[in-house]
Symmetry: D2
């Protein structure tokens, strides 16, 4: 397993292919550091004996100890552990731990490559296992690039005016394939080692050229990352762990990128594109049953804290709001547990979380995101929106006034009051708050997508039969 | 194990102590039959080899096969089985299976009698185990009488104007105790063998006389049951399994009822009253994680059916509504699974469902009850409220008109359209619908009670610490 | 203006054409009386000098004083008065006052007959005014029969397997037309003088024969009413005004009914069918801005009462629930006021409520119906579902027990506690409760219909322009 | 009436007493300009003949034409006009128009100064009218400073550890009073001419020194403004009107500020403090019935636009979301109309919006704020959170890629797609978005405050009487 330092060392040597606001930047650009810090923690905690059991696993390929973020789930217990690890890590970094993406993609590939081989006589699974061994042994960090830019939403890939609006194979060579297109919303990509590309949807035969899956280094020739960085509002003096962690998303452009065959895991098998897309979604929604409760944990802890500082922690509307937040967190986490417990074993030996539970959990998280921010805003009052900037707390002309007038409950220092409200101001009233909201709705698939999956995967006919039985309808 | 016939045979021999709308009625009164039919199914399915594994268990006392409705949970698996059995049985009888009450009370007593003995040196647990053996061997049906009538809600038991407003010990004798008071909302009591009395709340030392738990036959001397029967609207000709199952609730008056010591399981140990009350609630809320999804199953199946009959099953608002119903059912069931998986073993060996998961599940069910009826009403349209009574469908003067004008989607007969809408009319527009709604909110404790439990049992301080950590607050 | 007695005298002489549960019944059947009682109050209050201003108006045709339920709105003030009258009357009869239907239909016809004449050179308006004069002078009670049974919901009238699934003209004669079909959900029809038939939807040219509007006596030859009666649960001794008022709905079958030309107000003008349908909906939804707040008034008053009786009226969750109910009632009523104030004058001189306000008000009422029942259920607790029937309160064997154990807050007699909970039990746990819920969703058009109207009638393009302006998008 | 230029000319001459992030800044600091731009528009549109009727009024004191933002409402029509003006102006500046604060405070003072004089024989009203004349003739811009910092929320003003935690009179002199304390959340203060101070709550006799109201120039001796600026994310090249408008909020510290008697409008009349606080709230909540619908207009217009650009504008979930947004906007606006129509005339001649309608409207707006952002986020998808910064659209290395891959619906240029999503990104994912959310909840009083007002001002006893009447309860 790598250390954080080794991860960064490799990272900083990569080819410069990341653009930010008009500049070509290095991966050692300080603005990327908050995102990198998040990934570093996944190495740090794995190296900490206290968290070893949670953060590491035993490779089913090599029997070696590996970072759990590179593990293929071999049992329901593995899924429960992964869920628990995700909640824990997201608590520590104050939000998305990001590294789940890659391993969710690999778990999905582990299943589908085997299924394809069994049905079609291809040999993707062996290739995949070789790649996986490399990934585990080098303790890599992977982005999953799934979402195409999609152009006109009412048209299929092959119907688009510009065929590149979905990523596709433009050339097949003896030694590999050449692909073009762009993938959007690629969190972690600017500081990932690898990019794992999956199809974004079900395909028809005419979409064959768009049914493609593979892995490439994140700085491979022909790849351009155009990114947006979402860091917390920087602090001047008032340090806070929260302020150290951020993220960046890439629009990843593939301009005739060559991929050698040993890294190609689907190429034209359009019948399996939908299954692969859905499987990644299932694993990733299962990840959300860990990360979203962590975000709710932060919101509820903060809400409880500000209620205490305001001296209203025993008010019934406060307890009501906290109980509502707990219910959201634990319904999502509880349904996630059910998804793990009821997981099914695929032909490859990989365990797949039960799809309905994974989806109702992610759905419930998704429809409550804005509500959670609303609850915190209600309890925190208006101050997060009007809190003067830090500088005024250090200027002699205003410092005294601010320290005098921020006082609330006896026994809580002005500094802690300040820290509390500065934190809430960053949580609620910042660009990053907007990112958390939008990502909370759309990340891993929005509630509307989960509803489609839930309805599509559920045995509703059996429930109609039940209704007919009770109503006395015979046919 | 008993048969349904044996159950009824014993039942019909009991002392007449049931009053209904001004009459003293026998337990063989036909108006009680729909409730009795529900209980009969718990014997019938247990006797059916196909359902044997689900409906029976092995007694940890005797090693014999027993009805699972008399079993003390010995493992998380037992809790998962019980949840599954409850959902299945409630589907078959179109609503509350009722028999869970008794066994939920016994599970709670199994834990608390042991804890009291360990702490106070009493010998309740042995008594309890003897009683349990009797209960299992005779395959009994038990009501749990917990809720006192409570008088002024702002006063404790000992502060009430009339001390009987909470049930209490009025006399202690050598051979037993004498109790007076009344317990409300006692579903199943008019056709139960036994009534198991538990305290309804936390008590203080001054409430000592009210801290009492025991079991008595439902027709014991001094007991008067004043009941309300809630049956489906009776059918004239259009038979439907749904119409065969109902329920009855008793206000059970205890007027100087004698209880021999061997049936007394708490008498004055006020410190344990709250724990016993909460434990029963936990088991019963866990039961709700099985029964409420079953009610949602019926509603969703019916909603899907009427959408099909109306020819709109593919409309997006229909799929949306169905997905919402599925999400309610499976979030409740999923969190119930988590409650089972994360169950803890008590000193007595009994497994206790994890309290937060049991409560968030019951809470989510409770806050969605009316919403579920609303969704069905939206999809069914206005006809359930204005459907002419059955008689008009058989009268030659009107029959033809009704069969002509009820036609909707081609291929669905007038009779099946009729059956479908008659069923929905009974589900939505009947006194029993109101019972289902009110019971869905309050049965087993209303959402407001679950919120109190959730908040009270959750480690919110740990979440505040998390917020402080991220905000950089040190103390 | 008529008296209640004169209304009934005429009613009881009508031809027997009402079927109920297999019987042909007279309009003097006691089971119809609760519905008739509602209508009687519209005569009684109009005759009461205290309410005269609210309940009467001046005919714009004759200058005579008329019952406001027969008035064509001549100003925004008329609309405000009608809304106020509706809320008041619904409070007095504990629910739907029913008589608004007829006058809402006539107001819609007053507008469209004029518009048709102006555009097409027909002479419907004069006919209509003659009929209106007759209606006002005889102080008639009218049902509006709009909703066709509709068969397959995905087909237009002319596409249905059976052409009668929408009511249509089957023959045109010199002296009038002959119509066949059936209209559903015709509240008030069994005790109305007249039935006013309107089209239920937009029509195409091929649906010409289905574009028809007219008025007939409710017992005209060829009309068969097949009804469902929805009365409150009957009381044995515990009288309550609420228990005196009910309703009945008819499936009204037209089997070759002859309508003389002077009573025909549309016959083939398919282009105006949609406008007429929508206009009736607009007037009727405006009526809902009066009646729905009255239903909320009853629910909130009852909720406040039971909270007082339970001794928890100062609890914050109680005040919260009451404030939520007030907000529902007054948002609906307030938007209804806006609909009146912003009303527009049609060519006929009739004022039309502003359509968006009328629809958002009805929509808000519709989406809150089940929520209002839920709030009352939450505050009332479980007793409404398990309250023993009245008879037990009069049986010497049980009376004492019930009066002892129903006691709650000091100073409230057992009888009043009984009255309070009996009332709530009827409000929440009865077939009529189901009718109120379903009618609250679907009556006058369900929320899904209002959303369609709101979206269709709103100037959303203007709002898109605003967005473009702010975003700097020029085209 | 002034021009925007005259307003700014006076503004830029004011004493420097505004601190921002550690600096003492001039009112001509460019970072204040977006806020100032908003105020300028209130002069510009008043000067535009097209909007003159809406933006100006006739002074009831002088008969002269004045800016409506300085007018005391003389009729219900004035209130309707003000509501309409507010919606219009907020649409033009893309959010809060800010200038309503001052005139809302003056309207409240116009009523209470008269009431105090009538009851107590003081002469505040004359003073007030003189000040008002000055305010109108100089076309001033006023901030209303109401909210005290409040310290420990469970203590009254006189009980606080530090008496300055509520602003108070520290000295009375012959020529005036001296005050100390601080007022929070003072939007507009850094670019207002005047600060109008009102009490924030009901007071007891012991809080007498805190019952004080007055007006001072915003740069008066002893006043320090410590501000937070909330501007839209700055644009590099892609101009958009939206990006020109912002706001700033001040924590306004009063350190022994002298106020001459002619500017003092309450001083010790603690009995009227609550009334004055509530009246300002009523006027300000009435203002919200204009501004909040404007914010919803922007959100719905943008949602409709992005749906069009994505090619899904006809999808039913899109229409559903838009109808929901319309319903929110128009229920709030409609109830605001009702508040105007049902306004009552005070002794001073000023019209007061009906308090319940003003509060249910503001309440409905408040509980829907986060929901509105959620709806826009749902329709816009994830791009607003990951859209690369502007710079990448101008860098030759990335420009082509971005313009290629942003293409969606045929016929919409890459630039307009860019403008659309950049705008949404600023609306949803920016610090200003957070300000809009928090201000939408708390500005003018949060929903919890409105619920208290609604419950407190409503005649709930009358509704209990109605329930008793229907239930047959006589007392």
């Amino acid at each position: 397993m790598r250390t954080a330092e080794e991860y960064m060392e490799k990272l900083f040597k990569m080819r410069k292919n990341v653009y930010y606001n008009g500049e070509l930047i290095g991966r050692d650009d300080p603005r990327l550091r908050p995102g990198i810090n998040v990934i570093c923690e996944t190495f740090n905690y794995a190296a900490d004996p206290q968290y070893e059991e949670l953060l590491t696993a035993t490779s089913h390929l090599t029997g070696k100890k590996i970072n759990r973020f590179t593990h293929i789930h071999q049992s329901p217990e593995d899924l429960l552990k992964k869920q628990e690890m995700t909640r824990f890590m997201c608590q520590r970094v104050g939000g998305c731990v990001q590294r789940c993406m890659g391993i969710d993609a690999l778990n999905a590939l582990s299943v589908v490559t085997k299924d394809m081989d069994d049905a079609l006589g291809t040999n993707y699974h062996e290739r995949f296992l070789n790649y996986l061994k490399y990934y585990q042994e080098n303790d890599l960090v992977g982005n999953c690039a799934q979402t195409d830019v999609k152009g006109d939403r009412s048209l299929r890939p092959h119907q688009q005016a510009d065929p590149d609006l979905y990523l596709r194979v433009v050339e097949k060579r003896k030694d590999g394939i050449v692909v073009s297109g762009a993938k959007a919303h690629n969190t972690i990509a600017p500081y990932a080692d690898e990019i794992i590309v999956l199809p974004t949807r079900m395909m028809t035969e005419k979409d064959k050229d768009w049914a493609v899956a593979f892995a490439v280094p994140a700085d491979a020739e022909g790849i351009t990352q155009i990114i947006r960085i979402s860091n917390p509002r920087p602090r001047q003096k008032l340090d806070a762990p929260y302020a150290n962690y951020g993220s960046a998303d890439s629009l990843t452009v593939f301009d005739r990128v060559f991929v050698p065959w040993e890294r190609v895991f689907m190429c034209g098998e359009w019948q399996y594109a939908g299954q692969l897309a859905l499987l990644f979604a299932t694993y990733h929604r299962h990840s959300y049953t860990g990360c979203k409760p962590a975000v709710t944990d932060i919101i509820m802890g903060t809400a409880a804290l500000v209620a205490e500082y305001n001296g209203v922690e025993k008010a019934s509307h406060v307890r009501d709001a906290l109980a509502e937040l707990i219910a959201v967190a634990e319904l999502v986490y509880g349904a996630g547990i059910a998804a793990g417990v009821k997981a099914k074993r695929a032909a490859s030996g990989t365990y797949i979380p039960e799809v309905v539970y994974a989806n109702v959990a992610r759905y419930h998280a998704g429809v409550n995101v804005y509500r959670e921010f609303e609850l915190l805003a209600e309890l925190a009052g208006g101050l997060p929106a009007t809190l003067p900037p830090e500088g005024d707390f250090y200027n002699e002309a205003t410092k005294g006034y601010l320290e005098k007038y921020i006082m609330r409950k006896a026994g809580i220092s002005a500094e802690n009051q300040h820290r509390c409200f500065r934190f809430i101001s960053d949580l609620l009233v910042s660009a990053q708050a907007g990112v958390k909201q939008v990502a909370g709705v759309h990340g891993g698939g929005s509630p509307i997508m989960e509803k489609i999956t839930i309805y599509g995967q559920y045995n509703i006919e059996e429930k109609k039969k039940l209704a007919k039985y009770l109503a006395g309808i015979k046919e």
